[in-house]
Amino acid sequence: MSTEGHSGGREDDQVLVAEYALGLLEGGERAALARRMVSEPSLASDLRLWRSRLATLDDEFAEVAAPAGALARLEARLFGVAAPGGWWNSLALWRGLTASAAAVAVIAVGVNLMQPRVDPNMLATQLVAAIQSQEGSGVEFVALYDQASGEVRITSLKGTPVADKDFELWYIKGDQPAVSMGVVPIDQRMEIPLDAAAKANIEPGTVLAVTLEQKGGSPTGVAQGPIVAVGTVTPI
């Protein structure tokens, strides 16, 4: 058997994925395998295996203090300290946000179909956000915003209450600070009437997040606890 041709045998594929994970494939061969991974789940799952195992070698990268001044240069570049507004013009950023909104739309519609309490006739006038669990928090919500009634209906899908804590819902539009929409319950549905500011700001691309806060919610109006779930508002 030739080891040169990568003719597509199972062993050849296994080696290719390993070479890919190590960074040994270049150019067309690398791009071709990346494309195949999209349609062949077994290759993608093999890549996950290699990446997670190889990552145990990460300990061998010795820490080296980053050069002084590097952070300041980075922040100036990212946040446009010297030239306010530069950050807003970052095309790459906006492209990134748009792409992620599209990805969430797929999940959101999927979640929605499994939600018998949602009236399908109303969907045309609504926005949805699948607020997905962060880092194993096991907390998930789906939020539906009915522009006609001006209410957000938030339904908890997964999660358990935490003693002496409350879950608080926030919206984040663009680069602006998170704004509280109040404390939300686990294991039940709730309607939240929106004020004028929230109505103006909740639109496709706005991010909804749930944090774990002290009882009654953050007293300062600024999120203090860990983020347990995040999702992007998407039209349906």
């Binding site: 996950r48 145990t56 990460d58 990268f61 980053a66 669990s133 962060q134 680069d175």
Partner: protein, 182 residues
């Protein structure tokens, strides 16, 4: 870098996705030494490594929203961004190549939470499996992963013809895979 700090790092990445600049600064302070270690080891040139470090954190800020509910350790994700970028620079590719984006997405957001949990909780250390290979072959795997050596460089370093190196390493990778899956 201890695994106990992972939940905090994951939270900082999530806050970056919410455009929290203070969280970004905190994330940089905690992780830049590790990531500079990665870019420096692969690029082996201080000024190139610093430039790469900047690009890496720009990517982290811009792509923080892609690290969600993964199961992939947050430090590993950051190291992967740094390592992939360094390899791109090393191989004189364009700074952002679509296939790398694609694979990061596959690894981070795969619809396979069960598998991800197994990967993180019962993760086999690769060291034990590398020990089962002949030492020069294990060195090749380490050299490719940690130093970004190409087949050509590995062949030169071990003074064997290129095709011999390919055959060696491919056989070793198959053996390694069997051990890792066991």
């Amino acid at each position: 870098m201890s695994s106990t700090m992972s939940p905090e790092i994951a939270d900082l990445i999530a806050r970056c996705a919410l455009r929290d600049r203070a969280a970004f600064r905190d994330l940089y302070t905690r992780t830049s030494a590790k990531l500079f270690g990665v870019t420096l080891r692969i690029l082996k040139d201080r000024s190139e490594a610093e430039e790469a470090l900047q690009e890496v954190y720009v990517k982290i800020w811009q792509r923080a929203d892609r690290y969600v509910a993964g199961g992939y350790s947050p430090i590993s994700w950051l190291v992967a961004v740094a390592r992939n970028h360094s390899l791109d620079v090393l191989r004189a590719r364009k700074p952002v190549s679509d296939d790398i984006d694609l694979v990061l997405d596959l690894a981070d957001g795969g619809p396979d939470p069960e598998q991800a949990t197994i990967d993180s909780s019962e993760r086999t250390r690769i060291d034990g499996c590398l020990d089962e290979l002949e030492s020069d072959k294990a060195d090749c795997v380490r050299g490719a992963y940690l130093d970004g050596f190409s087949y050509e460089e590995l062949a030169a370093r071990h003074s064997v013809p290129l095709n011999t190196m390919r055959t060696w390493l491919r056989r070793s990778l198959l053996k390694l895979r069997e051990c890792l899956k066991a």
